[in-house]
Amino acid sequence: MKVQIDPGRCQGHGRCYDLAPELFGADDEGYGVVLGDGLVPSAQEQEARLAAANCPESAVIVVEES
């Protein structure tokens, strides 16, 4: 699983870095950024899905790899 943020949609609500602080952080203006390469350890897949499901702007994208 990988996570991405669509910078065209993100408005800095910060739900992603509230709910999944191992996967997301904030830039100097509070917009969400993906930490590292965005690969989600299996133990954090649930947090990744929660972050995506709670983003008010639907800016967090979860890519499930088969």
Binding site: Q11, H13, D28, E29, G30, N54, P56, S58
Partner: protein
């Protein structure tokens, strides 16, 4: 250092006169609402007391209500319609975001009276960037411990023996928390917070007054802030007021009305909103002992519960002005019509939320719009969440058991910001 000419009384008076000449007044229509679909008023006491059944009814039978009051307002009640309008800054302007009987001239766009909330693109983004760094989650976290200590001091000051074990949680607790934080951030004396509640009421609770009367009510707030700005020009310090006085856009210092307008925004929007959110959460917990007991027993569930309180009791409704005649959904909107952009109504749309009319404190998926959607996402959302979390943590740890002392004595603010303004709670 001489007083910065930008903030002199003379330039301010010239500007006021110019602005009053160029706006549009509408006929003042007050009195009871005849039909919520065609004559709604968000200044009506029934709306303040409990807007949700009204919104639910409109969502099913309308879903975009209208009123001739305020010179014409539309009220979308579906999440998707609220979101579409919030995202569509081409067709809907933010140049006025509090509906009243005065429409500022289109010439005030793209800046508006209280940037950046009253600003349209592309100016909006540049004005917002000046403020964003001070309102990130990390920057806000520096205020957490002082806020926590302040919450404790408020509870320490409760005089339960002489009040029969009853406190007004809206007036003696919720109100002071954002007031104190905003005074700190803006560099205003903490003792001046005694004035702030009246300022909030004068801006938010006066929307259906004749514009001239409303102007007179708002004037003392501007007098106070111009004085505060002049004081900061003479005595610069490390706070947001000095930051705005010194800030530059496009190679120039900010216009004086931009500086003061932004401070008005931070002060008013920083106070009444969070005051309302803390109060509404305590009101809910006072009336729902199972939820209260669960949060006391398992404080780690508070972050999730808090989001549900924000969804179900979203304090803030915004407004837009229609730029040009436009067909939206099934209605024909005219240029200069207002739109009441109800995030509370969006948050209770069953098409978007399961059990939308219930408060489910462990709702894990909660894509609510309490802080707005799109480019105007509440600048202070991280601050509001910090204050709400700390206020509830401290209250529940100190006062785990409380009930509504007199449900009929609870009153709610009128207008676009909704929260308890009298909330007598019996402690223990």
């Amino acid at each position: 250092m001489s007083i910065d000419e930008r903030f002199s009384q003379e330039t301010r008076e010239e500007r006021n006169a110019r602005e009053a000449e160029t706006g549009t007044l509408s006929e003042v229509i007050t009195g009871p609402v005849s039909d919520w679909a065609t004559d709604f008023s968000h200044a009506d006491p029934a709306w303040a007391a409990d807007p949700f059944p009204i919104q639910d009814d409109l969502r099913q039978r309308c879903p975009i209500a209208h009123t001739e009051r305020f010179g014409g307002v539309w009220l979308p009640t579906k999440y998707d319609d609220v979101a579409s309008i919030a995202y569509d800054t081409d067709r809907f302007s933010s140049r006025a975001i509090v509906i009243s009987n005065f429409r500022p001239s289109p010439d005030v766009a793209p800046v508006g009276a209280t940037p950046p909330i009253s600003s349209d693109p592309p100016f909006h983004h540049d004005a917002r960037k000046l403020l964003l760094p001070a309102f990130t989650k990390t920057a806000i976290s520096r205020h957490t411990e002082s806020t926590r200590a302040f919450c404790h001091s408020l509870i320490d000051a409760f005089d339960l023996s002489s009040s029969g074990g009853v406190v007004d949680a809206a007036q003696d607790y919720a109100k002071y928390i954002p007031m104190r934080v905003m005074a700190d951030m803006l560099g205003l004396p903490p003792e001046d917070t005694a004035l702030f509640a009246q300022f909030v009421e004068d801006v938010i609770g006066t929307v259906d007054l004749p514009p001239e009367e409303r102007g007179d009510r708002i004037a003392p707030l501007f007098d106070y802030l111009y004085d505060a700005v002049r004081d900061h020009v003479e005595n610069p310090r490390d706070d947001l007021t000095t930051h705005l006085i010194n800030a530059e856009l496009y190679g120039q210092k900010l216009a004086p009305e931009h500086v003061v307008g932004t401070i008005v925004l931070l002060l008013i929007a920083g106070i009444d909103t969070t005051w309302s959110a803390i109060g509404a959460s305590l009101w809910h917990l006072a009336g729902h002992p199972a939820d209260r007991e669960r949060l006391v027993a398992a404080p780690e569930t508070l972050p999730t519960a808090m989001e549900e309180f924000l969804r179900a009791y979203a304090p803030v409704t915004m407004a837009r002005l229609v730029k040009q005649d436009v067909r939206f959904g099934d209605v024909d909107m005219k240029a200069e019509d207002w739109i009441l952009l109800s995030f509370p109504a969006a948050n209770r749309d069953p098409a978007h939320f399961d059990r939308a009319d219930e408060v489910v404190i462990d709702r894990e998926v909660n894509r609510h719009a309490a802080f707005g959607l799109g480019i105007h996402r509440c600048l202070g959302s991280h601050l509001a969440r910090m204050e709400l979390r700390v206020a509830l943590e401290v209250w529940l740890s100190r006062i785990p058991s409380f009930t509504l002392a007199d449900p009929a004595a609870v009153t709610w603010s009128t207008g676009q910001i909704r929260g308890p303004r009298a909330l007598p709670l019996r402690i223990g």
